[in-house]
């Protein structure tokens, strides 16, 4: 019961969705399954939210290390939830969009969420510098290729790169760094990218077949769970 029912569900749902591509009368069923997928995914998000609350409450009750920061996390979570669910400060009625200008939800999104997320990613610029140092040591032929490609792309996107090779005559314009960067992206880079994409495509097909046929069962966890 614990393992057989999920395996049957996976087989039936997977098979129906594949058949719905080829058999027009099954298209409706396939569309419904896609909607179910979206609805279940929302509950999975709620589960994630519930889990976040549980973990941080546990941290607070056990007075674990840095438990004070759990209060900040939970306040941020509940304030955002309340602002969105009750549409606090929304200029229109309750039916208006949650992201309407002037709402508290939109204000927190603009003044807290966007600056924090973009600064978090911007912070990586500094750590990329140390990663570059490690990557840009030409230890062998492959590392040299990576180094040269990265340098050409970096220089090609800056005015410095344009200035550096502006003396190259027009008849040899392919050797101007910006043009070289464009060629690199549209030819050798495209080839490697396509090889990766085709590899991913074939990998997805094989893992999907393994899941549908019940050969891959790790997602079920162990029986004691």
């Amino acid at each position: 019961m614990k393992r057989l029912v999920p395996l049957i569900i996976t087989f039936v749902v997977g098979t129906v969705l594949i058949l719905s591509v080829f058999i027009p009368p099954m298209e409706g069923l396939g569309e419904n399954f896609t909607l179910f997928f979206d609805i279940i995914a929302v509950f999975a998000f709620f589960l994630g939210g519930g889990n976040l609350v549980r973990v941080h409450f546990q941290k607070m009750s056990r007075k674990s290390d840095d438990w004070e920061f759990s209060i900040v996390t939970l306040v941020g979570f509940f304030v955002m939830l309340a602002a969105g669910l009750f549409k606090i400060g929304n200029p229109g009625d309750i039916a208006s969009s949650v992201t309407a200008d002037g709402s508290l939800f939109q204000a927190i999104y603009r003044s807290v969420f966007v600056p924090l997320s973009s600064t978090m990613y911007a912070l990586l610029a500094f750590f990329v510098a140390s990663a570059s140092y490690r990557a840009f040591r030409a230890k062998n032929r492959e590392a040299t290729l990576l180094l040269v490609a990265a340098f050409i792309i970096l220089l090609g996107s800056t005015p410095f790169g344009t200035m550096l090779t502006s003396w190259v005559p027009e008849s040899w314009s392919i050797f101007q760094i910006p043009n070289l960067a464009v060629w690199l992206m549209s030819s050798p880079n495209l080839a490697g990218q396509r090889a990766i994409i085709i590899g991913i495509g074939l990998g997805v097909v094989s893992i999907s077949l393994r899941l549908i046929l019940g050969l891959e069962r790790t997602y079920l966890g162990d029986d004691n769970a």
């Binding site: 759990s70 939970l74 204000a107 899941l211």
Partner: protein, 216 residues
């Protein structure tokens, strides 16, 4: 209100940047706010985008169309997912999980096979010899580029084929594949560095222009 928002954004930006000095309580507060607010944001976004628009509007349509009662089954599976929080009957959550896994496998198998595998192979093999539409003469630059793409794709795929030992001609082809892959990784690395730099410039621009008004 706008000024207050700019001050909040600026202080949070500086709080995150304070990590460059060392891990400190100000950074941890900003990090905790980010975790809480982003979890709340995505929960609300999903609630209104999926649960309201796809379930509620489907079951209780206001435009006179027929209600789709099948959606209740999706909601039931969603509720079963929440049983994961129970230690005794948590195993029932495997049913909606199995549905998600089956749906993902069924949807993505066809999608990826067509878009990733078939379309990419077709694009690689199409127009290897490029000719001018006016003069019908071979355009050598583009043709060499196309041939290079075919060589790169084939050798790259050979590298990914692990069922045969990479020795002899097969090994040399795989080695060429590695070179193409390294160029791809290098190009992507370069672009990642550029995107992070542009984000950094954006944040510094915000601090100096919008907050401190030092730039016009």
């Amino acid at each position: 209100m706008e000024l207050f928002g700019i001050w909040v954004a600026a202080l949070l930006t500086l709080g995150i940047f304070s990590f460059l000095y060392k891990d400190n309580p100000v950074y941890k507060i900003c990090e905790s706010i980010f975790i809480g607010v982003s979890a709340g944001y995505w929960a609300i976004a999903n609630f209104f985008d999926a649960l309201h628009k796809k379930f509620w509007v489907g079951v209780f349509p206001t435009d006179g169309s027929d209600p789709n009662y099948m959606l209740w089954f999706g909601a039931l599976l969603g509720v079963l997912m929440l049983l994961r929080l129970s230690s005794k009957i948590g195993w029932i959550a495997r049913w909606p999980l199995a549905f998600i896994v089956g749906a993902t496998a069924g949807l993505y198998m066809m999608l990826y096979f067509v878009s990733n595998a078939m379309n990419q192979v077709a694009s690689t093999m199409r127009d290897v010899i490029v000719t001018s539409p006016e003069t019908h003469l071979i355009m050598w630059g583009e043709t060499i580029g196309s041939i290079l793409i075919v060589i790169g794709v084939v050798s790259g795929l050979v590298y990914f084929f692990f069922s045969k030992e990479h020795k002899g001609v097969f090994g040399y082809t795989a080695r060429v594949g590695i070179w193409f892959l390294m160029i791809t990784f290098g190009a992507h690395f370069g672009y990642t560095v550029m995107s992070r730099m542009s984000l950094l410039i954006g944040r510094i621009d915000f601090l100096f222009r919008d907050w401190l008004h030092l730039l016009n």
